[in-house]
């Protein structure tokens, strides 16, 4: 039972980080209806800046710089590429983001090389013991930060002018423009916010018990993609639920790997995608995705 509880708590905290990344997908999708495959490279860019700067300026300043850098990269991708890609289909724009991701990731992994970069976080390898459950401090902080950020975005989407403008734009960009919404600003803001979220997620993906930032970090980041899809790409709540489902599934299946050996090696990595497929077969809009209201 102790093992199960420990895996569950770790799964929830990893899931909270996936939820943060999924929230980045959701923010961009809400504002532009574009599925952003550049997210993993935004995350890598933020993490890379934190890793390189913390020995020079200290952790907190490096974290701020990493968040700002990832936001800037996101804004630049929108401003320099997507805004100028005059294609009618959002599917084509999604493919454009794949191309941008490959370019950015190639350059960043070339810079990282074979190194494993530490991010200089203040929590180190300390653990908390809650009865029979042992959990890394970094995981608890990740859970708290992710919960606070997701709650803030939930409220912002619902109650702020920024949130209303984003939702209106996602639903009908032309009509939103007729209401005075500046579409370029909405899109630019969404990409910058998604970049900033990716940098925060990069921090928690690369701290203890993970050894640090390396070329494989983007693969870890991509696990948030099924989280966003199965939660519903236009739902903040869905990002949270999807992240938690993916995190807990992955951690539990990896933790009970020996009992599940008959399913083959690496089932823990594949499990989030299997869960995504099953959920989409049952609920095509995802768990919390918006269905178009139809009056009968």
């Amino acid at each position: 039972m102790a093992v199960f509880l420990e895996l569950l708590v770790n799964g929830i905290s990893v899931g909270a980080v996936y939820a943060l990344i999924a929230l980045g997908f959701v923010v961009i999708f809400k504002a532009t209806e574009v599925v952003n495959f550049t997210h993993a490279s935004l995350l890598l860019a933020g993490g890379y800046v934190i890793a390189r700067l913390h020995p020079l300026v200290g952790f907190w300043a490096a974290l701020a710089a990493g968040i700002a850098a990832a936001a800037l990269v996101g804004a630049l991708v929108e401003f320099l590429i997507l805004r100028r890609a005059h294609v009618g289909s959002r599917g084509v724009l999604a493919i454009v983001t794949i191309g941008v991701d490959i370019l950015l990731t190639t350059e960043l992994t070339r810079q990282i090389g074979t190194e494993v970069l530490a991010l200089g976080d203040p929590w180190g390898d300390r653990v908390l013991r809650l009865g029979p459950v042992t959990v890394a401090e970094t995981r608890v902080v990740a859970l708290a930060v992710a919960a606070a950020l997701i709650a803030a975005f939930l409220l912002a989407f619902k109650f702020t002018g920024w949130g209303v403008a984003m939702r209106a734009t996602a639903e009908d960009a032309e009509t939103a423009a007729l209401m005075g919404v500046r579409l370029g600003r909405v899109s630019l803001g969404a990409w910058a916010v998604a970049g900033a979220l990716a940098a925060v997620a990069a921090l928690f993906l690369c701290v203890f018990p993970t050894p640090g930032l390396d070329r494989g970090t983007t693969a870890a980041a991509m696990k948030a993609f099924p989280a966003a899809i199965l939660g519903g790409l236009d739902s903040t709540t869905g990002a949270l639920a999807g992240g938690l489902i993916v995190g807990v599934t992955e951690t539990l299946i990896s933790g009970y790997q020996s009992e599940l050996a008959f399913l083959g090696r690496g089932i823990g990595d594949a499990a989030p995608f299997l869960v995504m497929i099953v959920i989409l077969l049952l609920r095509p809009s995802g768990l919390f995705g918006t269905k178009e209201p139809v009056r009968v």
Binding site: G161, V164, A165, R167, A168, E171, D172, A173, E174, T175, A176, A177, L178, M179, G180, V181, R182, L183, T290, E292, P293, V294, R295
Partner: protein
């Protein structure tokens, strides 16, 4: 022109050919015309010319109507004013649009809204996934909070049903309620000029009459209205001045009451009198070559 409608004195106001009519562009600007002024407007969607040489004026505080069959260019005219042609790969290729003395042609839609011109699009296009209250809030995104609160009060006074449905999803409202929401949402920006694109389309006659009454009340509160409408009887009853578009060109223009009394308008747009057998109505751009030169009523 067919029959008597093309001759001076036939069925209403005196008609002049476009060659002898005084072009509106040549008329001096007066305080009355410091509203919307469109001069020599030409719009293209790629190689297709959707509007040519359109002149139109909506004086401050007035209601003007634009009539015409499907494909005549009515919606294109509104898109040109509201800055949304780019969403349809269209562009203004000639002419000017000014509002309050400042050029708005080529301005982005959000900028046009900030200058006081707001469009209610055809088919309502409410934000179906958002609540009624959120739709109204979306309409006020371009104005400061204090003005938005006053506008909301005015809208809910105009459409009390929106207060009752405030927390209901807009996509679940009836067609009439959605039209009220679309107009209310546009009013949230506090427009000086409201562009209405087919506001009664698909509505029951009673609801259409209610919308017409609402347009009157909005205008009485000081908002100018440019009304695009296929329901010619309603449009001519509401408007002081009317324009008839045919395949992208201005065919007729003049005081709405005089147009309503003219034989040609009565026959072709109000369905009164003998059918016009010489010329098909509402046949779209492809039949442009078959058209005769348009005539113009001089006011």
């Amino acid at each position: 022109m067919s029959g008597d409608a093309g001759r001076p004195g036939a069925g209403g106001p005196e008609i002049e050919s476009p060659e002898t009519a005084v072009p509106e562009a040549a008329k001096p600007a007066t305080p009355e015309t410091e509203g919307l002024e469109i001069r020599g407007l030409e719009v293209r969607y790629g190689p297709v010319r959707a509007l040519r040489g359109v002149d139109l004026t909506v004086p401050r505080g007035a209601v003007a109507a634009v009539l015409g069959a499907n494909g005549a260019g009515k919606t294109t005219l509104l898109r040109a004013v509201s800055g949304t042609l780019r969403f349809h790969r269209g562009a203004i290729t000639a002419g000017t649009i000014t509002f309050g003395g400042a050029r708005v042609d080529g301005a982005p839609a959000a900028e046009v809204v900030r200058r006081g011109v707001v469009q209610v699009p055809e088919g309502r296009r409410v934000f179906a996934r958002m609540t009624v209250a959120e739709n109204l809030r979306a309409g006020a995104l371009a104005v400061p909070g204090r003005r938005a609160a006053a506008a909301r009060e005015r809208v809910l006074e105009l459409f009390p049903v929106l207060a009752e449905r405030a927390h209901q999803r807009a996509g679940l409202l009836s067609g009439g309620e959605q039209q009220m929401l679309a107009i209310g949402r546009a009013l949230m920006a506090g427009p000086s000029l409201l562009l209405l694109d087919e506001p009664t389309l698909g509505l029951a006659p009673m609801m259409a009459a209610r919308i017409a009454d609402t347009v009157r009340r909005i205008n009485a509160q000081g908002t100018s209205v440019l009304l695009v409408e296929q329901n010619a009887a309603m449009a001519l009853a509401l408007a002081e001045r009317a324009y008839v578009l045919e395949v992208g060109e201005l065919a007729l223009s003049g005081p709405a009451a005089e147009l309503a009394a003219s034989d040609e308008v009565r026959r072709r747009y109000l369905g009164v009198g003998a059918p016009d057998t010489d010329r098909p109505v509402g046949t779209g751009l492809e039949e442009r070559a078959e058209r005769t030169r348009p005539a113009r009523w001089t006011a």
